[in-house]
Symmetry: C2
Subunit: 325 residues, 2 copies
Amino acid sequence: MARKTQIQNIAIVGTGVIGASWAALYLARGLNVIATDPAPNAEANLRKFIDAAWKDLEVIGLSPNASRDHLQFTPDMKKALSNADLVQENGPERQDFKIKLFADMDAATPEDSIIASSSSGLTMSVMQSACKHPERCVTGHPFNPPHIIPLVEVVAGAKTSPETVERAIAFYTSIGKKPIHVRKEVVGHVANRLQAALYREIVYLIEQGVLDVADSDVAVCWGPGLRWGLMGPNLLFHLGGGQGGIQHFMEQFTGPMAAWWKDLGTITEFNPEVKQTIVRGVLKEANGRSIAELERERDSMLLELLTTRSKAEKTVPAGTDAAAD
Amino acid sequence: MARKTQIQNIAIVGTGVIGASWAALYLARGLNVIATDPAPNAEANLRKFIDAAWKDLEVIGLSPNASRDHLQFTPDMKKALSNADLVQENGPERQDFKIKLFADMDAATPEDSIIASSSSGLTMSVMQSACKHPERCVTGHPFNPPHIIPLVEVVAGAKTSPETVERAIAFYTSIGKKPIHVRKEVVGHVANRLQAALYREIVYLIEQGVLDVADSDVAVCWGPGLRWGLMGPNLLFHLGGGQGGIQHFMEQFTGPMAAWWKDLGTITEFNPEVKQTIVRGVLKEANGRSIAELERERDSMLLELLTTRSKAEKTVPAGTDAAAD
């Protein structure tokens, strides 16, 4: 392909928590970052966020050229984009605003660069609709916070070229992210839908009085959840099938599962009572621990788990190749 | 209460993989185990299983009196139960067989002992129906394998006494399990329903061509799944709500989630094509790694995660108290 393959200069548009987290990650991977945001204290807040995130990134591991000195900030978006190989956009989630923003970014960014959006609520087909070069616009939706959680959902809009999808996936992979190719534009992309599917049954069981809130958390985090951070459900069922693997699982265990499917809750809203039950239950479960304490607890365990995962990836002879097909 | 509170002698009825795994766990927790099973090679297979499981149990940590020498085996069920403080039943999942088995166990076990069933497919109300002392019969359903995964689902039948539920929960807690109180008998208990809810959306997205199989695994195990083995969804959403915690989350984010609920797949069976797609996709994802290799990979990561979790429990000043209410 004629386009440049080396991505070294990243522009971050919008430096709220998502944009700031992306900026920290890109710096830790040895890239140059130029960030832009119109808010008054944007640069100071950004640098503060990155300093805090840097401790976690040191645990995860810094790339050879990683440096916070490779960050520039300008309130002038046009200037920020003028030399970008890849733009990571994190603007407000309003449709009109976003279409205009994409048109402006498109005009200010070199034609052979990628413009990736962190949007969770809008489709690329809509966002790219007023661009002159919509083929290089793609959704690259992270799972929060992007500097820690590897998943990136890559979704094309109607006018996005297949080459852009390939380049985005190759780029994210090259910096240690785990991109997936979401092949159709669906509401919520994928990870949010999966969270919602799991939580729907939890809310249903709480609402029905089957479980209290704390027990519903135990049911996940001391049960099947222990494995969901190690391997995905399909591969786990391959092992659940014993020596016959996934073939045996599909023959033997899909009948009972389909029977459970028929009995699952089908609620489509949170009623006010269940909201109150959940709020009360969570505060009881937190048992006096502050949000900050719980965050530290979660994140220190998460960093250990990521260390375990990355060690396993290095020792396994033949790795999976999810992103490359 | 008048009944004995100290549980020291465990009887294992049925020594297939679930029963053998329970036996290994109870031995590792310093208890006496007497196992019974009518199958010809049952004792040899049981001892072989326990020897293999013991390595993992050493990593998790053995209790002071842990010893494989505290295992006895007899093909005579009556003898096995005659002095049991708690029976853990793991027989075949056929209703008629199970009702008869419970009546026989009930007749052979001291009246003040607990009879707990590992059944996933039958309700205690049915199983206890021919017992003279049904009040001490309770479901204690593990998540496989019980010697590693802490979750136990405790469910009363119609005739089970509240005291039995309390005693079972206290006992499982005392040996490091994480019991939950499932307050109504529902199909699949809880953990299997939650697995099914998550997997339904995965199968739907694969069927719709939104994701390939490997990417659907990445979406879980490099995304939200990374946290589901650390904390449950409710507590995670407490942190997802920022400084406003779960109250803010319930005000702000339940609207979008309910919108996703309305769009989730509602399939009630596995069609033959999606089964084939999943089989092919999993074999591709396994990429030549054998079932045994993948199991080793999963289990070594799992033991590290459990070590991380148990370290965190010890350092956190105020622990949650899920099982005790």
